[in-house]
Amino acid sequence: MFDIQYGENKEIRLIGKFDATQADKAKNIFDQIQDTHTVNFEKLDYISSMGLSILLITQKRLLDVGHELILINMTRHIREVFGYAGFDEIFKIVPS
């Protein structure tokens, strides 16, 4: 199960298992973001490259206009995947 919630204070919460079948659901939310937002990974158990690509596209678009995604509360497994993809060089990842 995967869910994405738009919370208060420009926070997006990712929940559950973000696999390739969930791309459209996530993209619908991320495509609407126009300025700096926090993405909270606290309740996310899993992410694959499809999810990473959606974050990458959003980050490119936001940085072009002086904004960004800030990623918080990653579990160890997900933090490692971000490292494998070199994403720690292009995202601000706040340690939990």
């Binding site: 696999d19 390739a20 079948t21």
Partner: protein, 137 residues
């Protein structure tokens, strides 16, 4: 253990169930489960997206030999597409130069200890190996 899956993204849940069943049997820890799920998803979705010449089912097998967990995916009746010959993705590229996509394979290569490709009788066989401690039987 072996299963055939329809070559479609909608089979992903069945793929995860297959891995979970095997991992439960072997009482595998969360690190190995996570690695197997992610590596399997990345290779499976690549086959769905890029090897479109046939719509035959994809066969997945999981087995343990000694200290190795071996996950193999076979794509039947397709042209050769050696994933080890794909130009390596540079994970240190600046954001502006990064392609969107193509992240799956570099992640698989980090998660697994071996990624092998074999082309035999018009079938692509991708074999992923993860070394584990020997308490998993």
């Amino acid at each position: 253990m072996e299963k055939k899956l329809k070559k479609d993204l909608s089979s992903l849940n069945e793929l995860f169930d297959f891995i979970q069943h095997y991992a439960d049997n072997k009482q595998m820890d969360s690190d190995i489960r996570f690695a197997l799920n992610l590596a399997a998803e990345e290779i499976f979705t690549n086959l769905v997206k890029y090897n479109t010449q046939s719509r035959n089912d994809i066969r997945i097998t999981l087995q343990k030999k000694g200290d190795q967990i071996i996950l193999a995916l076979t794509d039947f009746n397709v042209e050769k597409f050696d994933i080890n010959q794909i130009k390596q993705y540079d994970i240190h590229q600046p954001l502006s130069e990064r392609p969107v996509g193509k992240l799956g394979l570099p992640i698989v290569k980090k998660l697994m200890d071996k990624v092998e490709y074999e082309y035999k009788n018009h079938n692509s066989i991708i074999t992923l190996v993860k070394y584990v401690r020997n308490e998993y039987v």
